[in-house]
Each structure stands twice: as structure tokens, then as C-alpha cells.
């Protein structure tokens, strides 16, 4: 019983209860019941995640609430069912549990077709995502990692836009391709190290730097596609544009974070020497991603595509922070993961709202919406400002600490490249203002001259209720992020020490 009701097991697998209930519902009728069941399930899961947070002790820099039982045993190797939580994963678990009910609420009127199946896939997706962030055994991690693909594949492939099949298959194949390499590396680690349990592997350490290099790249292949890092981003616009709104929210909000999370969780502590060695390369790709994503976002005429490309830019910041390899950078990077989940998630919701009303996302169809939908306009403005990093809102705290860390990587005796990276990344902030303001202007400012927009209704209470929690977080993180930094601080400091110790050993 203790095992079953372990907080981490509960928070991961509770959505299955909802799935079970949904399975007993009729297909055609009871659509509202399906919605309510899944919403309540997601809310309870969020409640459980709060309970986990209450039990979490941020002062311990290691994995806690650890749970390990043998799972598969054969030929002398044991694969463990190992779950644990630390300062790096707790925020992402909370983010997952937070965004899922919001995304479900956003489907209330958007998804009319096969509601029950949609909700089942959605809750399954939550199980997979939470599992990814909690798994402490490489094999278990891999299982969760691949498991998330399936529900997302169906969410895009069944409830997506016109080219959903293409997008779904591309999403699936792309991610699969990277994962295969990671699986090989996982097998190598497990066979050589004798265990798949991550904390044990980190403790053992001592992998030859030459081999680390290749293992790092194999893991990076899987994660970089997921992030996605330039130039592996090609699946992202397709998946985002075709996915239903809730799918986009989760895709941007959580699924992409699995990639960046993977870098922090596995690549840095398992292969510290390689991380040190490859940091300039990763930094370079990140900066190219920032600039490229920002430039390419600007001429997009489809709002959703614009937001999708902006994700490439934002996640470039996260990657830059992580590979600054110092506290400021990594903490900023992790916070920025959360920020991006909130801001971009909110942007996708906002796009979804207008799409539900007008059934188009072309910028040229809009203009002057502020006059017609003032509440919508103001909320969008706040979210857009948060996305482009206005101080006082969440995006700034993340971006500033990342850039500070990145500059510090140069100041701390790293290469001069770090200065250059920082400068270019900071220039990306300008470009972010350009495309975001352009989007905002095209949609909300100027004369309201399209007659089709004249009778649009402003947001209803449900839609406002969806956005308000996000806005609260936007302001909270922006004005008083202490709580979030304290959650991850000790863990990240310990990680930084680990990586730095490795680099000293190399020298």
C-alpha cells in the first residue's frame, strides 16, 4: 500500500483513474461528463502535486522521496522502477500538473468530436510527462519518454488541422529517430555501469571522456530534437500548427521541456567532461536558434506558426542558460522552461480563442481587435509582453538570469565566445520585441476594417478563468521569483559543483 500510495506514484498515475472512469462512459453521449471527469481528474492530480510540493524539502540538494523496486531482471541486469524528485524536476512536475487542467478547460467547446477519446489520450499524456520528469532509472525514463509520443501522435493525428496526418507522422518519426540513439547510449551505460539507476550512475562517474563525448551526443540527439534546437526544428511548426489548441499548449508547455530537462538531468551530471567540452557548440547552436527563430517568426502570416517559431527562439535561451554551466545560467534556464510553458502556453490559448471565433489565424484577417474585444486585447498584451521579456513579468527574470549566467561563463575564464553569444542572444530580445509587437499590432491595433470581425464577442468567463491562473503566475514569477529559485537552488548548485569538479579533473 505504501508503494501504491507513494506521493510520486500517485501524482504520476492518478490520471489513470480518470481514464478508467472515462472508459466506462458511452461514446456518443455523456460528452460533458467526459469533460468534467477529466477536468476533475486533472485538478486532483494538481492537488496531489501540491501535496508533493508540501513534502518536498528544497534544502536537500539530492533526489528525495526516492522509491526503488526491481522491475525487470534478466541475465544479471536489473532494471529498477526508480522514481524520485529534486529541485530540477519539481518545477516541471508542477508545471505539468498545472497546465493540464488548463488545457483541458480550453477544449470545452473546441473539441466536439470524440470527446471521451480525446480526454483519455490527454490524461495518458499527463501520465507519460510526469513520469518522464520523475523517473530515476534510465530505462524507466526511456519507457515514459516514448510513451508520451503515442497520445500526442493521436491528439495531432485525429483532432488536428487539415494536414494533421502529415504532421503527426513527422512528429512521431522525428522524435523516434533521436530516441533510438539515446536508447543505444542507455544500453551502453546500463551494461557498463551495471545499473540503470541515474543517481548510482552519477555517483560512479568515471566514464572515459572519449566515450563520454559519444554518449553525450547520443543523448543530445534525442533531446535536441525534442527541444527543438536549430536546425532540428522542422517538425515543430507542422506539429504546432496542426495540433488542436490544447495539444499545442501541452506540446509547447511541457513536451519541449522534456528535451531541455533531459540535458540538465542526464547530459550534465552523467557526462560532465563532455558537457564542458561541447558547451561552446551547444551555446552556438542555442544562439543561432535564438536569432534564427526570432527572425523567422517575424514574416509568418499565421499567428500560430509565428508563436511556434518563437518557441525555437525561447528555447534557445533555455539551452544557452543550461550550457553556461553556472548557477545563474542553469537556474535561469530552468525558470525559463517554466516561463515559456506559461507564456507560450497562454499565447497558444489566445490564438485558440480567436480561431474558435473566426476559424482563421491569418494576421491579415485581423486588425483593430482592441476596439472590439478589449479584455482579450489587454490579456494578450500582458502575455506578449511577458513573452518578450518585459521586466516585472516572468519572461524577464528568466532571460536576464540566463544572459547574466552566459556572460558570466565568459567572465569566469571561459572563452570569449560566451561574450559574443550573450551579445547576440541579447540582440534576440530586440528581435523578439519586433515580431511580438508586429503580431500585436496586426491583430489589435490599427483600424478595425474587416467587417467579419465587427461582431466578435469578447472573452467569456470560462476563457478568462483559463487565462487568469497563467497571468497570476506571470506576475508572481516576475515580481517575486524567490520561491521558485529557492526550490531549485541547492540542487543546481550541487550540479554546478559536480560539473566544475569534472572540468578541474580534466585540466
Amino acid at each position: 500500500m505504501d508503494f501504491l500510495f507513494h506521493p510520486l506514484n500517485l501524482v504520476t498515475f492518478f490520471p489513470l483513474v480518470g481514464v478508467l472512469v472515462l472508459l466506462f462512459l458511452g461514446k456518443k453521449e455523456q460528452e460533458n461528463t467526459a469533460r468534467w471527469v477529466s477536468l476533475v481528474t486533472a485538478l486532483i492530480t494538481f492537488g496531489i502535486s501540491m501535496w508533493v510540493l508540501a513534502q518536498f524539502n528544497p534544502d536537500i540538494p539530492f533526489v528525495q522521496m526516492y522509491l526503488e523496486v526491481p522491475w525487470i531482471e534478466f541475465a544479471g541486469w536489473t532494471i529498477h522502477y526508480a522514481m524520485g524528485i529534486d529541485g530540477i524536476s519539481i518545477l516541471l512536475v508542477l508545471l505539468t500538473a498545472f497546465l493540464t487542467p488548463i488545457a483541458i478547460l480550453s477544449t470545452w467547446t473546441a473539441v466536439e468530436d470524440r470527446v471521451r477519446d480525446f480526454m483519455i489520450f490527454f490524461l495518458l499524456l499527463e501520465v507519460g510527462m510526469t513520469g518522464v520528469f520523475l523517473a530515476q532509472d534510465l530505462f524507466l525514463f526511456y519507457v515514459f519518454w516514448e510513451f508520451t509520443l503515442v497520445p500526442m501522435y493521436f491528439l495531432i493525428g485525429i483532432w488536428g488541422g487539415a494536414q494533421r496526418t502529415y504532421a503527426a507522422i513527422k512528429f512521431f518519426l522525428y522524435t523516434m529517430a533521436g530516441s533510438i540513439l539515446m536508447l543505444l547510449a542507455i544500453l551502453w551505460l546500463g551494461i557498463e555501469g551495471g545499473t540503470f539507476v541515474v543517481p548510482d550512475l552519477i555517483l560512479q562517474g568515471g566514464i572515459d571522456p572519449g566515450i563520454q563525448f559519444w554518449l553525450f551526443l547520443a543523448f543530445a540527439a534525442a533531446f535536441a530534437i525534442k527541444v527543438p534546437m536549430w536546425p532540428l526544428h522542422s517538425w515543430l511548426p507542422d506539429a504546432h500548427v496542426q495540433a488542436p489548441t490544447a495539444g499545442s499548449v501541452i506540446l509547447a508547455g511541457v513536451l519541449l521541456k522534456m528535451g531541455t530537462y533531459g540535458f540538465v538531468r542526464f547530459n550534465l551530471p552523467l557526462f560532465p567532461e563532455a558537457a564542458r567540452e561541447l558547451a561552446p557548440l551547444m551555446g552556438f547552436l542555442a544562439v543561432v536558434g535564438i536569432i534564427y527563430g526570432a527572425i523567422v517568426s517575424y514574416p509568418q502570416r499565421d499567428v500560430k506558426k509565428l508563436v511556434a517559431y518563437s518557441s525555437v527562439s525561447h528555447l534557445g535561451f533555455v539551452m544557452l542558460g543550461i550550457f553556461a554551466l553556472n548557477s545563474q545560467g542553469i537556474q535561469g534556464g530552468i525558470l525559463q522552461m517554466v516561463n515559456h510553458g506559461i507564456s507560450t502556453g497562454a499565447l497558444f490559448l489566445i490564438v485558440g480563442f480567436i480561431y474558435e471565433r473566426r476559424h482563421t489565424r491569418e494576421l491579415s484577417e485581423f486588425g483593430g481587435l482592441w476596439k472590439i474585444m478589449p479584455v482579450y486585447a489587454v490579456l494578450t498584451l500582458i502575455v506578449a509582453l511577458s513573452s518578450m521579456g518585459l521586466p516585472g513579468l516572468n519572461g524577464f527574470v528568466g532571460e536576464f538570469t540566463i544572459l547574466l549566467g552566459s556572460w558570466g561563463a565568459g567572465a569566469a575564464g571561459g572563452s570569449y565566445g560566451s561574450y559574443l553569444f550573450t551579445a547576440f542572444a541579447a540582440a534576440g530580445v530586440i528581435l523578439a520585441a519586433i515580431y511580438m509587437l508586429y503580431m500585436f499590432q496586426k491583430m489589435f491595433l490599427g483600424p478595425a476594417d474587416n467587417e467579419k470581425n465587427a461582431n466578435l464577442k469578447d472573452l467569456n468567463w470560462r476563457e478568462i478563468a483559463i487565462l487568469v491562473p497563467l497571468l497570476i503566475l506571470i506576475f508572481w514569477i516576475g515580481l517575486y521569483p524567490k520561491f521558485f529559485f529557492e526550490l531549485m537552488g541547492p540542487t543546481v548548485d550541487q550540479l554546478v559543483d559536480l560539473v566544475n569538479a569534472a572540468s578541474v579533473a580534466v585540466r
Partner: protein, 700 residues
Amino acid sequence: MQFELFDLAPLLVILPVIGLLVNILIGDRVGERGIGWIASLAAGLTFVVSLLLFFALQGHHEGATVPFLEWIRIGEFNVGWNFRVDTLSNTMMLVVSGVGTLIHIYAAGYMHYDVRYKGDPHSYKRFFIYLNLFIAAMMILVSADNYLMLFVGWEGVGLCSFLLIGFWFTKNPDGTDGHSNSNAAKKAFIANRVGDFGFLMGMFTMFWAFGSLNFGDVLGHGAVEHVSEGTILAITLFFLLGVAGKSAQIPLYVWLPDAMAGPTPVSALIHAATMVTAGVYLVARSAPLFHASHTAELFVMFTGAGTALFAATIAVAQNDIKKVLAYSTVSQLGFMVAAVGMGAFVAGMFHLVTHAFFKALLFLGSGSVILAVERGHHPLEGDGGHDDHHEDEHHDDDHHEVFDPQDMRNMGGLRKIIPTTYRVYLIGSLALAGIPIFAGFFSKDEILADAFLESQPVYWILTVAAFLTAFYMGRQVLMVFFGKPRTHAAEEAKESPPSMTIPLMILAFLSIFGGLINIPVIHPLTDWIEHTLGHDLVHATKFNWQVAIVSTLLALIAIGISWLIYGRKEIDASQPDPLQRALGPIFIGMRNKWYVDEIYGFLIIRPYERLSSFLAHQVDWTFWHDWFHDSGIAAGFRGLANFLANPVDLGVIDGIANGLARATKGSASALRLLQTGFVRNYALMVFLGVVAILSFLIFR
């Protein structure tokens, strides 16, 4: 814990925020008057708090830091929401909240008409929410105790600027529907972002050099000496970029003239008196840093001086009453930046204060003029209420003719029609032109005197700029107020209500006597600021009679010339400007702002658009998405699959499989006759089998 007056500092931000929240919540119920009162009260209380802090400082010249909340702390990086109250920041607080309050009161009257002329009375509330937000952001800026918090205010005022420039976001500046206003807002934000980029980089450099962003740690005694001069230079130059963005210096000044798209009180408050001076404040605040690098000082000084002259030349040829003032603002900001650049921090701050008075006065006065002409053009019924019928008429007017109430060629002779506005406007103009006894004279003269000692080239550049200033102000006053009314609207112009004229009179009073705050010989402001910046950085400038006489004479000459050109005989609105005959192509260049916008468009904006479009459509989509992935990888895979499927699979493997299948099919079609579908038939077969087996068992 003992309560001190300094602990009131957070109220500077909290009060305006409360004001705007109250207006958001109950603004719809209290009516225009209520909204105006709430907002003005919030601003006024902020001024009261500033005054209280001023008195607190009388006892404790060293000031105080008031911790409020922890903000970001990662490792050694620790920045909090801490408020700094010292003589320098208090000066800014007083100016911002004082002028801000006056402008709130003025706007309560002005916006009543403006929202009706723009046909959207619901925007009244929105305007005052923004204004209060601006006061809050500006207070964060000036009361910050560290660079990061200053940056919050810095971007916050930028946001308010964006919102207020784009206040009439569906229109063009002339009132027609269009995108110009929103474009101007966007331009302002992006130009400021470029400056912010510099500010950010400066902060990064600073943190890793000083280990802190707090004023106390960076600017305190001796901190600068531990850092190499190259690093200081980098920091200061990065900051200079920020200053150029916010305070509209070359090369980022281009947003400020466009920013006149905002309602006139906004131009007065944000784009003349307070926000744009934030850059000057930043340099003055960072005085020890700038002082530590001579190169940096040179850069700042020449940027300021160049801007002062350059903008003044453009101002000479503008016809839009607000554009003239806008370029004049850019030019005056150049004076201030040049002053702080040459180490005359007090002179810069002095000019900042007086300029806030007289430029706010001029902008508000111009607003009064514009409104008067607009009301002359088509009066609102009853001048208090309005009804829909009239708005319809107004709408029709737009179709007939585009009347620009801001064009000085449509004015003339307003001296007698709106005498109150005329008088205060004249005072503001004389102050700006630098005529003795007015506030502008003392502050400008102090800068010139410093420049005279510091750098002769800069002195001469600034003197020429001052000459041009006097000239274009003379031109403006003559074109607007003298001669005969050139349009029907000007003849019918109406004086503004008291809620507008009383703030104007207060500002006029300040424009006359504002110079007293740093009157030569006593130098009260110098002593005041010395408490913060320290004795090394502050020196009382001796009054230089030579400089004073030269500049006064030049100003008088300039006004005389302007009278010769614009005042002596009537100007015909349809004729080209009289000055154009004299200057020819130079005048054309000046009128077209030296084509800087066009050059930027050609050099930066269009290439960027082309690049982004190329990257997005050609590289990312056509090449990377479609060609590489779809045609390359996907089609390649499909090709391989087809090869395996057709020749290999169909030919060889399928051959075998099909042969088998064909045989099976043939035999099946024969055997299917056995499948009659009758169950009994099957049973018979079974029975037959039983008998047969039994027979076999028997007879084997």
C-alpha cells in the same frame, strides 16, 4: 523598529498603482470627473510623499536605502526591490510627481474634448490608467537602489510610452483611420529596445566586474578603482546606447518625433518632461563610472552636442506645432547629455528640471492651442456634453476635408483670440530661447559655461544650437499667435477651460522662477546634489559673463531674424515657407528631417524584412522544411521503399507468393463447391468421415 519618513518610499510606487487599480475597478461608475479625480489624487499623493521625503532629507543629507522585497537571488547574485532616497533621486521624484500631477489635472480637462473628437469617449478611463501606470514605473526608475530595478522602471516607462503613443491606435496623427499611430508606438518600443540591449549588456559587464548591481557597491567609494578602465569604458558605452534610446540621442532619436502621435498631455509628461530625461538621470546617477573613463565622457559629450545641433536644424523647418517642440526636446536633451558628459552633472540636472517646467508648459500650451483650433473648426455641442448626432456630423467632416489642427499654417493671430494661452506660451518660449531672468537662461547658461571651460568645439556647437533654438521658437510664436488668422478655424478658436489653464499658469510661474533653484553665486541645487554625488564630482560653476552675454545676444538676434522673416509681413499658408527661398535645398533637407527615417528604412528595416522573409520562406520552409525534409529525407525514404517494394518485392518475393496464392485460389474455387452452406451437409460429411474411418479400422 523605529519608523522613519524614509520608510514611506515604497508608497511612491504603491499609490499610483492603487490609483490605477481603483480606476480599473470602479472607473466605469464614477464618470469622467471621478476618474480624473482619482488619477490626479494618486499622482498628487505621490507628490506629497516626495515632498515628505524631501523634508526627511533635510535632516539626513546622506539619504537612505529602504528594503522592500527580495527579488532575484542566485548564488552571489542578489538583487532586491530596494528603494533609494537621496538628494539626486528626490530631485527626480519631485519633478516627476510635481509636473505629473499638474499634467494629470490638465489632462482631465483636455481628454474630455479629445476623446470626443476622436469619437471614443470610453477611452477616457484607459488614458488615466496608463498615466498612473506611467507614474508608478517612473517612480520605480528614479527610486531604484540598483541598476536592475532601475531597468524595470526604464522598460516600464517604455511600455507606458508604447501604450500612450498608440493611444488612438486605430488612427493616424491627423485623425483619419490608419496605422500611423500604432506604427509610431511600435517604433518607439523597438528603438527603446535597442537601447535596452545596451543597458542589459552594461549590467552584465558590471555584475561580473563589480559582483553586484547595487548602487552602493558599484558607485561607492573606491569600487571603481578595482576595475580596469577598459571594463568601465565598456560599461559606460553600453549605457550610452541605453541613454541614446531612452533620451532620444543620435542614432536612436527617431522615435521621439513620431511619438507626438500620442495625446498632447502625454507628449508633455512622457516625451518632454520626465521619461526622456531618464537617460540623463542614469548618467548622473552613474557619475563615478563615467567620470572614471575620459573616453566615455568624450563619447557622451559629443553625442549630446551633436544631437543638440542636429535636432535644432530639423526643428527650424517643421510646420507641425508639436513636431517643432519634439525636435526641440531632442535638441534640449542633447544639451543635458552633453552637460553630464562633460562632467557637469549638476548643470545637466538643473537643465533637466527647468526644461521639465518650460517644455511641459509649451507642450500643454500647444495642446491648448490645438484644442482651441479644433473647437473653432467644429465645436462640440454645449462644450460639456456631447451627443451621437454631432459625432456623425464630425465623421462626415473627415470625408470632406482633412483639417490638421496641428499645422501652424492653419493658425495665426491667436494672440487676441486665446490670450491666456498666448501669455503662458510666450513665457515658455522665452524660457526655452534662453532670455535672461527666465529659468531656461540660467540652466542653459550653466551648461554653456561649463562647455566653454571643458571643450571649445562643444561650446560652439551648443551655442549654434541655442541660436537655432531661439530662432525656431520665434518662428513658432510668430506663426501661431501673430499676424491674422489664416483659417476660419483659427478665427473661431476658443479658450481652454480652467482645469487646463490653471496648470499652465503654475508651470508658467515655474518657468519664470525655476532658475532660482540653482541661481549663480548661491547654487542651492549644486549643494543639494553634492550630498549624493560627493565633492569630487560636483563643482559650482562660476557665472561666466562672456558666455552669458554672447548667448543672450545671439538669442535676441535669432528672434529678430525670425521676426524679419515671419512677423514683418503676412504669411500665405499656400505659399512655400519664406525661409525656403533663402536656404533652398538645405531647407528641404531640414524639413524632411535629413531623410534619416528613409535612410534607416533603406539600411536596416527593409534589409531586415527581406532577410527575415528570405529566411522564413525560402530557407526555412522551401529549403529546409519542404525540400530537405519532404523531398530529401521523406521522398528518399519513399524511393527506397518503392525500390524494395517494386522490383525486389514484386518481382522476386511476390512471384513466389503469387504463385502459391494462385494455386491456392484455383483449388479453392474448386473446393468451394463443397461449401454449400447447409449445416446438414457438413454433418453428412462428418458422418461420412466417421463411417469411412470405422471402415478403415475394420478392413485394414
